[in-house]
Structures are given as C-alpha cells and as structure tokens.
C-alpha cells in the first residue's frame, strides 16, 4: 500500500485568538504550532493501514520552512517519507495555489515511485477551513473523493469507507486509487515516543519547489468579534455545593 497524507502546519491557539494589526493574519507570538487535528488522524490511519498491510506513508506539506517540524513529528508517529513544498512568502497560499502545488508534486512523486493507492487529507484545515484542497486535487487527478471519513476498510476490491451523518453512517465503496478527507475521531492518534522523536531527527525530507500559479482568491480581512465575557460563579465547596447545583440545574430546566 502506498499512501500519501497531506498535512498543514497550523497555530495551536488558546481560547482567545488575536488578530494582527494587518487584519490578515493571526498573531502567533505566543503560540506553538501543530498539525491540523483531522490530518493527525489521517496520518494515524495511514500508519495503522501500513502496519497491517505493509507499504509506505509519504507525508507532504506545503508551508514555511518551519513546517519541517510537522514533518519530523509525522516521522515520529509513523510516517516513512517526507516532502516539503516550501512557501516562504510569509503568507498562506490560497486553496487553488495549494492544490496546484500539491498536484504538481504528486505527479513527480508518482512518476518516480508509482501511483498512490490512497491520498488522504484532513477534512479541513484547523486554521483556514477551506474544505477544498482535497477535492481540487481529486478532480485534477480524476480520482474518486469522499470527505468526512470516519472509517476505512480495505479489501481486495478496493476501499469501503464510512462517513458520519446526523442519523448514522453513509457507507461507500470504490476501487483505488482514491482521495479521502479524514475527520477527527476516526482514531486516537498516537503520541510520539522518545525514541521516535529522536529517530525523526534523522528523517530525510525531500524538497519540491513549487511552480504553481497563484490562485484567484484573495484574503481581504479577518474580523475579530467582540470578546464575550463569561463570568464564573462558584456554587460552593465539596458537599456544600450539592444544593446550589441542584437549584441551578432546576433553573436551567435540566432536572
């Protein structure tokens, strides 16, 4: 099995997200960076598939040089090959641009190493949430695509995937190669081990420079809503709190 997982470096914010004065970007001064949670799950799923069926997991990201951190993290949790498409412009590419860059990279990777049986994306990125890069890539490569995936079964004939809907699951079946948009909850991603972290430092990262064209979508402004102030009221300590809690639940109509 040859799997490609595309991931994005995103800030790991607290409950309040500050917007920079240019109103185009989030202020990341206090923030660490992580991999979008849906994509962490995609990577975990891919790692589990190759553990069971054999194969490779190529992890690809388009982003600043610092996104190497996310590739090394991927190396510590099951990724086997790593590709960085550098974007050192200082701002995110729009989805069209990103998709183009990934499509070009995939064609090179497939020409050299064979077709990917599965290409996985996160359902959407944690920061921009555009929901479209995976679909654009699938369309360009003329491969089937399903988003919102919460389960994957592999059989001789191809893939059976489950997609969560309000009332239950939708189940789809299709032959490979295919593109999937994975959702958080499909699995519980592993943490890196100390050995894994140390080994990841030796992981080789392939750099593929992008020749993709800029897209047609321009971010004009980020709007920060007024902060909602919530007040915490302490209802009591230990057993003394029971009465006030019952009263409150009653008031809220829960009881």
């Amino acid at each position: 099995m040859r799997i490609l997982v595309c991931v994005k470096r995103v800030p790991a914010p607290g409950s309040r997200i500050n917007v920079r004065s240019d109103e185009l970007n989030v202020d990341t001064a206090h923030l660490g960076f992580t991999t979008s949670p849906h994509e962490e799950c995609a990577l975990e799923e891919a790692a589990q598939i190759i553990e069971e069926h054999g194969g490779t997991v190529t992890v690809l990201t388009a982003g600043p040089t610092e996104a190497e951190e996310q590739l090394r993290y991927a190396a510590s949790v099951g990724g086997t090959e790593f590709v960085l498409i550098p974007n050192d412009s200082g701002h995110d590419w729009d989805p069209e641009h990103t998709a183009d860059a990934i499509i070009q990279a995939i064609s090179g990777l497939e020409a050299a190493g064979g077709e990917f049986d599965l290409i996985m994306f996160g359902n959407e990125s944690a920061d921009a949430g555009g929901y479209q890069v995976g679909v654009r890539v699938a369309v360009a490569l003329d491969r089937p695509v399903v988003n919102g995936i919460k389960g994957i079964d592999i059989a001789e004939a191809g893939f059976t995937v489950r997609r969560e809907v309000d009332a239950g699951y939708e189940v789809y079946q299709f032959p490979g190669p295919a593109v999937l948009g994975i959702r958080e909850g499909i699995n519980l991603p592993r943490y890196p081990t100390m050995k894994g972290r140390l080994a990841s430092k030796k992981a080789e990262i392939t750099i593929i420079a992008s020749e993709a064209n800029p897209g047609r979508q321009t971010k004009v402004r980020l709007h920060q809503p007024e902060e909602r102030i919530t007040e915490t009221k302490i209802l009591g300590d230990s057993a003394d709190a029971a009465g006030p809690i019952v009263d409150l639940l009653d008031e809220l109509g829960v009881l």
Binding site: G14, N18, L31, G32, T193, M194, T232
Partner: protein
Amino acid sequence: MSDFPTKASCVVIGAGIVGNCVVGHLSDMGWKEIVLLDKGPLPNPGGSTGHASNFIFPADHSKEIVDLTLESQKQYEELGLQTTCGGIEVARTEERMEEFKRRMTSATCWGIPSELLTPAEVKERVPFVSEDVILGGFYTPSVSAVDSLETGTQMRKRAQDAGNLQVFANTEVTDIETAPGPKKPTIRAVVTDKGRIECDSVVIACGVWSPRLAEMAGATIPLTPAVHQMADVGPFDVLVETQQELAYPIVRDMDTFCYERQSAGSMEVGSYAHRPILHRVDDIPSNEEAALSPTEMPFTADDFDQQMEEAIELMEFLGDGEIKYAINGLLSLTPDANPVIGPTVEVENLWSAAAVWVKEGPGVGLLVAEWMTHGYPHLTDPHGADITRFYPQQRNVTHIEARAEEHFNKTYGIVHPREQWASRRDITTGPVKARTDALAAFYFEAGGWERPHWYESNLDLVATYEISERQHEWDARWWTPISDAEHLHLRDNVGIVDLSAFQIFEVSGSGVLDYIEHMVVNKCDVKVGGSIYTPVLNSSGGFRSDLTILRLDDDRFRVITGAFDGGRDEYWFRHNLPEDASVQFENRTNAVCTLGVWGPNAIPLLSELTESDLTQDAFPYGTCQKILIAGIPTEMFRVSYVGDAGFEIYTPMQHGLALWDAISDAGENFNLRPVGAAVYGTSGRIEKGYRLMGAELENEYTPVEAGLARPKVKAANFIGKDAYLAAREEDPCAQLCVLTVEDHTCADGYPRFPMGAGNEPVLSASGDRIVDAKGRVSRVTTAGNAPSVGKYLLMAYLPIDLCEVGTELKVMYQNETYPVTVAATGTNLALFDPDNARMKA
C-alpha cells in the same frame, strides 16, 4: 460586584503556593481583612505552581534554603499532602562523586539522614536504572513529593474559615496606587477590573509576573521568566503495576541536569540542561490566549533532544514511552538564583514574595508573615533572599538576564563556594582600578564592586615566605598561595588595601543622635572624632548587621558597612528614619574612596606624607581625624580589621587615584605591597577573631553569644533592647569559638582545607552532630589560614559546655572528619596579638 471589598488590611496578589501560604500564615498570626487576588481561575490560576513537578530534595548547601525547605516539608506533612518516596541523585562523573561528599557534609550538618550508594545499591532501589552509566548515588530517604495546589487551597480555606480572608479569582490587578509618604511612597490601594481596594499593605506573590506588578507601584522585583522544559512520558508497565503515584525514589541525573519522577504510570522527565530560554513578562500569554496555561508555553522539542537521549541512557525503557505532555514551563530566575523576599526598597508596605520553588513555598509563607507581623522573621535569617540585597545596577533587565543566563545551567551544577560570576563584570569599579589592573589584581565581586582579592604581582612573595600550594583542586580553586604571602608581608612590612567597595552612609540633622542611638546597640554619644563598632539588632535581639560608626560632627555620623550588606543596611537605616525630617540620610558610597594601609611600617610611611602626628598618642586607636596626605584632603580612621597598626583613609572619590599614587610612591622605601581582600576579609580577620555579618553574625544569635556584649548597656532605647537585656540575663547556651585544625590529612594522605561555607558541621570527638539547647547546629562559619599563627582556624558556635579552650572535637569536610581543638572563646577571640599591642603601636 456588590461583595467586592473596598478596604483591606493587606492585599496579597497571586494565588500560587506562596500567596496562599502567606494568607494562611497571616491569618494564623491574627491578621484580619486580608484579600487574595489572582487573575486566573482557582485552584490553578496558571502560574508556575500549576505545572511544578512538586518534589522536594531537602539537602542543600545553604542553611537559609534548608531552613525554608524543612519548614515547608513539615507544613505539607501536617496537611497530609506529602508523599515521602526518597530520592537519589546519581553521578556520572568523578567530579560529581566529589560533590556528593559535600552533599553528605551538608546533610550531616542539617541533620538530614542521607547515604552514598554504589551503582548496585542505586539499582536495588530503582531497578530500571542502567547502573553501567553511573558511578554512584546520593540517597536521601526524606525526599518527598507534595500536592502544592491542594496545599494552597487548604491554606486559603484556613484563612477563609477563620473569617480573615476574602478570595477573588479571575480578578486582574490593573494598578497599585501609592501615596506620598514621609520617607518614600507608601501603599494606598490596589485597583482591579472588579473594583478598587484601599489597603495598608500589599504582597506581590505573582511568580513570573511579579516585576510587572511591582512596576505598577514604582518598585522593582528583579527576576526574569525562564523556561524549564519537562515532558510526561509513558505509560510504562513497571510503573503502572505499582498502582501508586510514587513507588520509586525520584532520580536526579545530576551530570545531565535532568530528573526523572514517577507520576503514577508515567515518568516526568525535566531538564535544566537546555540552553537558557528567557522571556520578558510581556511575552507571557494571558490565560485566554494560552493553549495550556500561561506558564506552560509551547514545547521547543529541539532543545530537549539531547536530554531525551541522556534520559534513555539512564533508563532505557523511557525510549518507548509516549510523550503525552511536554512544555516549556516558566519559572522565575533572579540575578543570583536566590528568592526575592521582603519589603521592597522603593515603596513602603509593599512586599515581595517571589522566585520561590514549591519546595520552599510554605516556609516562605511563614517567613513573610512573620516578617510583616513582627518586623523581622524568626524562622531563619533571610540574608540571601532579602530583596533589598540588590543594588540599583543589579535591578535592571540587562543584569537580571545576563546573570540568569549564566546560572541557569548551574541549577544542578557543581558550584564552588568562592565561585565568581563571569558576566556583567567591571560595572562598578573604584578610582584606583587602573593601578590595581597594572598590578595584575585578581578581582572578586563584592556587592557588585570589583575588589582585588589578591595580586599576581606579589607572586615573588610565595617563594620568600615558602607558602605551599594546595594539592586538591577543589581546595585550590579561586584560591592562591599569594594571599598568605601578602598576609605575612603585611605583618612584616606594610600593605595597601583597596576598600573602594565600602558602603558609606552619612546621617545628620538635629535629631541624629537620638536616631543613631535608636538604631544600634552601643553608645554613640562619643566625642567628635570618636568611633563606635556595634551590632545592629532586629526587634527579637538577633543580628541584623554589624558596622562601624564615626562621629564626624556633633550632628553628623558616618556609617560604614560591607559591600555585601550595603543594600540591606541602607534599607534598614532609611526605613527607621524619623518622620519629622529631623534626620537626613545620604548614601555617600559613590562619593568616597577608602584605602587601607596597615603593617608595622604603616605609620612611618604615612608620616612621610603628612605633617600631622600619626602616633598612637596623638592619634589614638579608634579615632578619626582630618589629615592632609600629600596635600590631598582625607579623613583618617585609626582602626584595623587585620590586626596591625594603620588606617582606613577616606578621600573624595576624585582624589582616590592620586592618594593611591602618593602612598605607593612613598611606599617604595617601606616595602609596601598591595594586599587583597583575601587577607583583609579572611586571614587577617580570623587571626584577630573578628566576626563577619552573614557568617558568624546572623538573626539566630545574640551579641552575648557572639561575644560582642559590652559590660554595660546604654541608657538610650534601641531596636532589640528588650531582647538584648533578656539575653544578657540568661546563661548563654552557646558561644562563638575559634578552633584550630590539628591534622589536615585526608584518607588519601594529603592535606585538605575546610571552606567555611557555612555547611561544615563541627562534631563531637566521637563524630556526633552537635546541637545546642535551642536546636542550633554547630557548624563552621568561617575557615581560613592564619599564617602568622601557623594554624588553620575555624569559627563556630558551640554549646556552652564545649566552649572550653582545649576541648577536642572534629570537623567534617568532604564527608571526612578532621581533629580540631577549641582555641579561643568569649569576647576576645584573637590568636594573633591578643592584647592588640600591634594595632596600637
């Protein structure tokens, strides 16, 4: 909010371990209307307490830190929030094994049971340690882990239940208002986003945020937020199977500056080995902005990789553990790695309780509450932690960060008692530095000042006096045989000492006599030109300082104190100024240069430079006169801390260099040599049995025990008088003594030399720890060679029944014992020229 108070006696800001313990103890001591504020939620408002590893290794070289730590363990235990699991420090190097001998010495001194372990013995206690990478261990069974958050909650609750405390979480302090006071601004109110509270005093216990809060009031709390990385790794079957939070001793891997602490099924791995990562207070996110908490900053994995590798070397299974939680945890670093506690210099009734570890938190809470309640703490002498110890040039961010960068990696380091700072040197220098540089002075830092400790230019004297080198590198570190040679040269000829670092205050005005009498023990109403050497006590009768006072005029006194004590003493003298402005205080340190000239040739040499009569008859010992030296106006004070005839000579700073040159030029005919502070502060002093603040003199001991009580007590009232009178009535249970080392030979067959760093116990002849009736341990307070006596001397307080000259005892150094004999006790501890004939020659 209607129930938000508008008035309080005291507002404590910060509900971490320190703030909570302060309010608990203030309430216990009878304080009412206390308010505790924190900008974060409770019980974990997001400060350093919330991510602390919460373990306590009680053995330390510092008495003050040990006192605070043992008191904290006692309080955690009383609350039932301590788990005693034992702890092992492991060594990978021979240097560390040597350090463990010093650890054993300290542990013996403080009565903390400990033992040295072989690698196999370490493995017996911690089976998953790779014994092949270690050389041994230092095991302390009383190492514990505590629940600092619950302790804080209980402390708070205690004060709330007593009706003395109101607590407000999620309350941001936006300003601390001050009002003009008679001497300096004083606390008026704390302004928050929920309202304004008028109050009499404020305690800042805000950990890494403390500098910001202090700044609101116009004060400084010198510390910087710094990163301590840690990761929670697991789970591991070997730990899960124990079904305990802590089944194994906590391991400190001292040579890699790491620790491994079981936390139920996981292991916490923490490090002080990574590069120093300092932050500014404004770089810390708010509770809302932080992904975890404000002080759990994003983990920078690259900085931790080497520590991981080393941790796996020691405990191989760690490699397979998942890193579930890893942070760049923030803690507070001060310029000298000690806490910053006590009243701030700048604002009356504003207190600092910051840069405190969980292991000292409850003890510091008690200490601060005592200090606020009684005017001075009883728990221990807070000498090293007193925030007023820092001079202005040490309170700024440049200095704080430079020193924090330097000492961060020494958190688990091997630090020599005489170790000198490398950063921020040459910031404060006297007027003769160009000359002392030319004489190849080796400088020690004294309260920020560069002070020559010895002169390489005197190397020839080592052969002249046949001074031996020290064989062990540790004994010889930051030491030179030149010092003993300088000492003997001074005794035979004459030496000049650069005393520019002296701290010089002048107090004057119509009320000055009453004021100065009130400040100190001994009578100050002496003739103009007279001098007073005197203890300065706190209200409980323990030492706050000792210093020399000159009466310059009817209404003007000069107060001279040491470079290490100037900050504390200035605070104390200013704090006690009368409110009616009848006394003016002036710090003249930067205006006055002091040079010392002593030795049998001192009077003849100086007489060449003046027409004044300098003989004892015309210029008696202990008096001060205005004298022209080579046409330079000076004030000469006939006194000696080194035991020979001569003077401290004060001159305006701008004349200092010319004065040095005049004396040096004339000195050629008198065999004058420059002499360093090693002679002035140690060898000369110890031969005369003179006491030193911070060594022999401290809060726990009285002038009676120090042998500094005069036959009579002056009529005037003074701070600590009642306690002093009571101490004079009692039979003292301990007395300061001088001991001689009878045999220096160590087990390896060569001589060793105790340091006198305060942690070397004096033991009975049978090798038992000696404790007096008040529970105070006998330990070496000063150690030094006495070249003119031909002995190596120690000073120590001994229980009264051992204070007989000739009593044979032992001293522990490097975990070995050496025979010592009591050589002097009482008021006169001089073994050299005990009748003081030379000083009065």
